[in-house]
Structures are given as structure tokens and as C-alpha cells.
Amino acid sequence: MSDELLKIDNLVKSFDGNTILDGVSLSVKKSEVVVIIGPSGCGKSTLLRCINALEPIQSGSITLDGEVIERNSKTLPALRQRIGMVFQSYDLFPHLSVLDNIVLAPCKVQKRNRDEAKQEAMALLERVGLSEKAKSYPRELSGGQKQRVAIVRALCMHPEILLFDEVTAALDPEMVREVLDVMLDLAKQGRTMLIVTHEMQFARAIADRIIFLDNGKIVEEAKPDEFFDNPKTERAKQFLNMFEFDSVKARDGLDK
């Protein structure tokens, strides 16, 4: 399988004696969009953080295009450039303007020409509808705008794979859509993405494959329609039921 871009093999991660990820194996092909869902505390975010070596792991391996991602290795900064990550809390740099947030890493890390990086940043900002905010500072933006800038910041490094860690979880409901639309657009462009989200409708629309994670283990892995319409495991059924509500309209009958 030469088109496997990211490969996670038997990953074990524990913290203070608690096992958070218990032998997770997963691979992502080029241009594939994989969505990870599961109850909170199941290890979804930790999994993404391990892929970017933000967390130490106990055993197993993670490789990007055959190169091992390891904490404290000399090749890590170079590998991280190839992995774009967007966080729940946006994490823009507050002391830099939107444009400087985006071009800092391309200029300082990849040593690219500043004007060329700026041009690309402007084109990307245009695409997410924020070109007029280039000179603004993060504190002047709404949550949804910040998150779109954070996505552009990751894109400007030309990553081979994008990791999205519950990027809409901290947003007001009316701002969720604008961020999800940007991600749908990226999927259309054929970007490789690994997404952790609680937006089930969105997961169904964007995913090529759904991974259901529970208690640090992959419980179910399926095509989105199959997973949402016919979950095979009891755990997945229970989980999906949490998003459904039984009608309480029956109480109208009580009045009579």
C-alpha cells in the first residue's frame, strides 16, 4: 500500500497509570478524509496530539510517508511542517497581525520569500472570505474568523495532511457553519484530513471513513452512511442515540 500517507501502528498512550489509547492502529491514504468520533474522554484529541508528537507515547509507532514521528527527535520540526494542525482554541499568536500569524512560519521555518508568502496568504484569506482582515489583530476577530485564520495559517505551510481537533467545539452555534464550510471546501480540493468532531451531520457529509473510538480503542470503522444508518456495535448505537430525542408531544393527550 504505497498510497498510505499516515500510518499508526498499535499506539499505546497512558497518563498517570490510566490508559488513554490502548493499541490503536489506523492508516490514512492520500486525499482521504477520516473522521474520528466518540464520547468525550475516549482519547480522540489525544490521538491527534500524539500524531503531532505533542504527547509522549508509551509504545507503538506513528509514521508519515514512512518516516517515524518521534518526540525529541531531530527530524521532528521538519515532519511537523508536513502536518497541519488546527486546535479547538484557535491559538493564534495575539501579538501578531492576521497576516503575520500566517506568514511567520513559512518565512522563519521554511525560509520562504516574504512577499511570495504574503501573496499566498492573501489568496488563501480571500478564499475563506477574510482578505479585509489581514491587518487586524486576533483580538479584533470573532471566534469563527479566528478559526478560519488558524486554518489558513496551517494551509500556508503546504502540509500533506491536516489534523482538526474539535475546531468548532468552542464556537457559538452561528459561527460553526462558516468554519465547516471552509473544511468542506478543503475536502473538495482533495486534501488529506483527519478530523475529530462532535458535528454528526458534518461528519457524515465530509467523511470517506468514520472511526468510532471508545475507551481508547477503535470500536467500529465504516463508511459514513453505513455507520450512521446501521451501526454494527452496541456501543456505537448507544452513542448515536444520544443525538436523537424522543418526541414528548404525546403529553398533549394528557390534557384530554
Binding site: 511537523r80 499568536f93 511567520l104 512560519a105 522563519k108 521555518v109
Partner: protein
């Protein structure tokens, strides 16, 4: 108008070299605080970094040091350094040296606490999102952490500097001839000829302190607004 000037004892300022002497006094107060600030800032930065270190022993020692300096009135520290050490250890240090030592000890403690506060106020996510962009640890500090720390620190440390300048008025108690001491000398010498001299001279001292501290305080406000 000339009457009012005489009435308030302001005319004394223009007798002989009185005004120049006051300026000289202000200079000695300022130089004590500025030397102390110049010592405090690098030591305070080191102390602040150490206060965020993982070693509990280092943290505890620095905490105790900070609390002792904070609890003790500056005047007590000055007496202890100037009179106390002479009796106890036989040190013969000048009032200026004792003042600089005390102000540097105080400044280092306060500055260290400011640096500590600024460092821990940078969220962990700032380090992570920088590293996730492929920046090395050195680049993260250079472009992300230090600029943000300095922005938080500068307005606070400027306020500390104005506090240190104002507090130098205490050093006259250990015989340092600074602006307030000069003012007292001028008042003593002119009490007979112009009875209201105290008002005019102390008013001048007020204006001098104001002129020394106000621009600094304005700068702090400006920077705070610019970087908020």
C-alpha cells in the same frame, strides 16, 4: 505677582545656587534608583525564570526571599543595611551604597515576581501551536514567547521603576543627601528671612518628582494600551 512669589517663599529658589542644589539632590535620588533598576532587571529576569523552574527547593527559597522583602518596610531594610551591618559585621558602607543594595534587593524580588507572572500567563497552547507549525524550541521562544512576555512585562516594570524613584525619598534617613534633604537644608537656612519658605521648596520638590515620574508613567500607560 512678585508679592505672591515672595509670600509663598518661592523666591528662595532663585537665591544663590539653591535651585541647582535641588536639581543635584534630585539627580542623586534618580541615580540611586536607576543604578538599582539596572541591577534589578537582569537579576529579576533570572529570578523569575528560576521561580518557574521545576525544583521545589529553588522555588521555596525564592518565595521566602520575596515575602521577606515585601513584608519588611523599606526603611527597616535601609536601617538594617546601613546601621545594622556596621554593628554586626563591622562593614563601613556609605549611605549611597547601602541604598543601592537595599533598592536592588527589593527591585530584584519584585521584578522576579513580575517575570514569573508574565511567564506563567503565556498559555501552554501558544507553545504547542508554534511547535505544530514546525518551529523549533528556540524559534518558539524567539518569535512567540519572549515577545509576548516582554509586552506584558514592560508596563508593569515601568510602574516598579516609578515606585523605586519615589521611595528614594527614604534614603535621607540614612544620611544620603538627596532632593528632600537638600530641601530641608534650604528651608533651615532661609527660615528667618522668608517664613513661608517650606511651602515653596516642598512645592518645588513635588513638581520635580512629578516631572521625573509622570513621563515614565505615561509611557507605561501608552505601552499598555498599544499592546493590550
Amino acid at each position: 505677582m512678585p508679592d505672591l512669589v515672595t509670600e509663598l517663599g518661592i523666591d528662595v529658589l532663585f537665591k544663590g545656587t539653591n535651585f541647582l542644589r535641588l536639581l543635584g539632590g534630585l539627580w542623586s535620588a534618580l541615580s540611586i534608583s536607576l543604578i538599582a533598576v539596572a541591577i534589578s532587571i537582569p537579576l529579576g529576569i533570572i529570578m523569575g525564570v528560576l521561580m518557574t523552574s521545576k525544583s521545589r527547593i529553588i522555588k521555596a527559597i525564592l518565595r521566602v526571599y520575596l515575602e521577606i522583602i515585601r513584608i519588611m518596610p523599606q526603611l527597616v531594610l535601609l536601617f538594617l543595611m546601613f546601621f545594622g551591618t556596621t554593628r554586626a559585621f563591622g562593614w563601613d558602607i556609605s549611605g549611597e551604597t547601602a541604598s543601592i543594595i537595599v533598592f536592588a534587593l527589593w527591585g530584584t524580588a519584585e521584578m522576579g515576581d513580575l517575570v514569573r507572572g508574565a511567564l506563567i500567563s503565556i498559555p501552554k497552547h501558544q507553545y504547542e501551536s508554534s511547535e505544530a507549525l514546525g518551529m523549533t524550541s528556540a524559534q518558539t521562544y524567539l518569535y512567540i514567547i519572549i515577545p509576548q512576555t516582554v509586552r506584558r512585562l514592560i508596563p508593569l516594570s515601568i510602574n516598579l521603576i516609578t515606585r523605586m524613584i519615589k521611595t528614594t525619598s527614604l534614603v535621607l534617613m540614612i544620611g544620603v543627601v538627596e532632593v528632600l534633604k537638600v530641601a530641608q537644608q534650604i528651608i533651615e537656612a532661609n527660615r528667618m528671612t522668608s517664613p513661608n519658605v517650606a511651602f515653596g521648596i516642598y512645592l518645588t520638590v513635588f513638581v520635580l518628582y512629578f516631572l521625573a515620574c509622570w513621563p515614565i508613567s505615561l509611557l507605561a500607560k501608552y505601552l499598555e494600551k498599544k499592546w493590550s
